[in-house]
């Protein structure tokens, strides 16, 4: 009889041993396990993304020659416009450098732009992250800002040998110091409103009471540059509504994020350079 009782309890005894073993396992061993298991699996999403790119390549090969000529002509026009803007940006940067030197101001942060392909998107109600195909091999640091044509993508959370994990701006784990486009007072932004079958939203808090925004007159929310991670002026999203918070001292509201954020295939990591 006691033997039969032990047989019944055996699974739970083994479970207790496993859980206790996991609890007392040193943090260093857990870290090694985490890194090992990550690197072991890293080639799987990378290989899948290469296959997807190959698929896109063959799909694009199906275009007619006329369509390609037209696309090339359109691109030439866009390129000419961007070339002019790049020249203007160079002139402005030279002016900023000259003024910094003249006024003895500390130099503004400089970044190296590292473009990376997205290997996998993992957007659940619990977390929102991207796996990109560049990591320590391209000198990407933890905490580096990640951007795209529409503004902020997120921040690098983990860096591995050939890949890096980016916390998306829509993830509840990401908080930023932000400002409104025409207002220098800092506010707090946090991702996290991710309704089903609809674009993601964020939340803005600690907004001064004299700031107004609505769905008909939205306000652009940009990075403040405070904290030293993100350069200032990058678009986070559009604030489409503000309500007084419970304490009545500030307002809080909803930030509509760009729907393109969930379809990204390529992003740019801003790698700080020239820092002591």
């Amino acid at each position: 009889m006691p033997s039969h009782r032990f047989d019944q309890a055996k699974p739970f005894v083994l479970l207790g041993i496993v859980l206790l073993g996991w609890l007392v396992l040193p943090v260093a061993v857990k870290s090694v396990l985490r890194v090992s298991f990550f690197e072991l699996q890293a080639p799987i999403p990378a290989a899948a993304s290469y296959v997807r790119e190959l698929q896109e390549y063959w799909a694009e090969r199906a275009h007619t020659r006329n369509a390609l000529i037209e696309a090339g002509r359109d691109l030439q026009r866009v390129y000419a416009g961007y070339e002019f803007q790049a020249q203007q940006a160079q002139t402005l940067q030279a002016e900023v450098d000259r003024l910094e030197k003249l006024l003895n101001l500390p130099s503004d942060s400089h970044y190296r732009f590292e473009t990376a392909r997205v290997a996998q998107r993992d957007f659940s109600g619990w977390w929102q992250q991207l796996l990109i195909r560049k990591g320590a091999n391209y000198g990407i640091p933890v905490g580096a800002p990640v951007v795209y044509a529409g503004g902020v993508v997120g921040r690098v959370r983990e860096v591995h040998a050939y890949t890096a994990v980016v916390d998306l701006v829509s993830s509840p784990r990401l908080r930023l110091a932000a400002t409104f486009e025409d207002d220098s007072r800092p506010v707090s932004y946090q991702g996290g409103e991710n309704p089903p079958l609809a674009p993601a939203h964020g939340v803005v808090a600690f907004v001064p009471l004299d700031v107004f925004a609505s769905a008909t007159a939205p306000k652009r929310l940009v990075t403040s540059g405070l904290g030293g991670v993100f350069p200032s002026g990058l678009t986070i999203g559009m604030v489409t509504g503000l309500q007084p918070s419970a304490d009545g001292l500030f307002k809080s509201g909803e930030v509509a994020l760009d729907p393109r954020l969930s379809e990204l295939t390529e992003v740019t990591v801003l790698v700080p350079v020239g820092l002591p």
């Binding site: 496993v18 999403p45 659940s124 784990r173 996290g192 079958l197």
Partner: protein, 175 residues
């Protein structure tokens, strides 16, 4: 020992990565599939405790390494608990039946999804919207699990047979 543990582990990991690819395609539509319960069920219903639990723990570790849970090891702990509960109850129903496996996978998936949601939603700024999203994801996940479970169980069974693991003998030994 190694074959009985590594073959289920390989199939679970393969299944999980297939779903991860599917989630990549679903990302622009704000939908997500979770199949933790599907991964755990076959090993818990058909393998011996040590072999099945080892495969489940390894799978939990592999998922923990790539997903940002509330703490490292959250999948490992939840998967192990659900595995042991299914193992404990498996003699009470005809576990050889595929339909029983599907129902078990659905209940296991529900338990794991709710467990993970409760643990992961600590710092959420808008819990009501978050739960609405989770509810929708749970519905898609349960429908998906119900649809693919028979195929996934057959895949695991065939993989074990190819690895010369006799499931009938395993059943007899575990009685």
């Amino acid at each position: 020992m190694f074959r009985r543990c590594l073959i289920p582990f390989a199939t679970m990991l393969g299944g999980w990565w297939l779903v991860a690819e599917l989630n990549d395609f679903l990302a622009p539509h704000a939908a997500y599939l979770f199949v933790g319960g599907l991964l755990v069920t076959f090993a818990a219903l058909h393998l011996r405790l040590v072999h099945g639990l080892a495969a489940t723990v390894l799978t939990g570790l592999a998922i923990d390494a790539v997903q940002p849970g509330p703490f490292f090891g959250v999948h490992l702990v939840l998967f192990a608990v659900v595995h042991v509960l299914i193992f404990h109850l498996r003699t009470r129903f005809p576990r050889e039946e595929t339909s029983v496996g599907v129902v078990t996978a659905l209940f296991a998936n529900l338990a794991l999804f709710l467990g993970l949601s409760v643990l992961a939603l600590g710092g959420e700024p808008a819990p009501a919207v978050a739960w609405l999203r989770l509810l929708a994801d749970l519905v898609w996940s349960q429908l998906f699990v119900a649809a693919v479970a028979p195929w996934f169980f057959a895949l695991q069974q065939r993989a074990l047979e190819l690895g010369r693991v006799n499931l009938v003998a395993e059943h007899r030994r575990s009685l």
